[in-house]
Amino acid sequence: MKIEVFGTGCAKCKRLEENVRKAVKEAGVTADVVKVQDMDKIIDRGIMLTPALAIDGEEVAVGRVPSVDEIKRMLKK
């Protein structure tokens, strides 16, 4: 599973990454968590608001920070 966290490094972006890593650990899944901080790459993906989260290439949250529990539910889908 590939998880991408999009954001350039502000407090919300960091919180999202923390929530993702915690969710992955608690859900017990094997995932490659990648932080995408390059604005050009973020825009090229069609993501216009950050922070954003994609799981296996699909955007599941854009412009907000889902909770650890919500991310765990996303991981199970």
Binding site: T8, C10, A11, C13, M48, V60, V62, G63, R64
Partner: protein, 130 residues
């Protein structure tokens, strides 16, 4: 998109129809001026109409959606409805500003009037604490 991290800009999104007629382009210009003044963030209406997942998810996260249609055909509103989204503020340029829809370039004075109208609606909404 704002050059800094866009984390604070998803509160108020503006979705103009950006249609081909003068009214559609007035809608587009209003959105851009709201960005310039820091009042709101223009967003990708066509992305929502095209069901682009990343764009739709961003709209769902917004606190306020401002849809600006050029005319009563209401394309921007229909784009939102196609994803079960409803505008918090809705404005139709032709009716709201008393402009005849035409295949001409928009007039600066009409853009200015439209901008003032939308800005006052956003401010009124924000003053209510929404």
């Amino acid at each position: 998109m704002v050059s800094k991290c866009g984390c604070e800009s998803s509160d108020i999104l503006v979705l103009p129809c950006s249609g081909a007629a003068n009214c559609g382009q007035i809608a587009n210009e209003i959105a851009l001026r709201l960005r310039d003044s820091g009042a709101a963030t223009p967003y990708c209406t066509v992305g929502i109409g095209g069901h682009v997942k990343g764009i739709v998810e961003g709209a769902r996260s917004a606190k306020v959606l401002v849809a600006i249609d050029g005319c009563a055909v209401a394309c921007a509103k229909k784009c939102l409805e196609g994803e079960n989204l409803k505008p918090t503020i809705y404005f139709v340029v032709a009716d709201g500003l008393g402009i005849k829809k035409d295949k001409v370039r928009p007039k600066e004075e009409d853009i200015g009037r439209g901008y003032d109208e939308i800005l006052s609606k956003i401010r009124a909404l924000c003053s209510k604490g929404k």
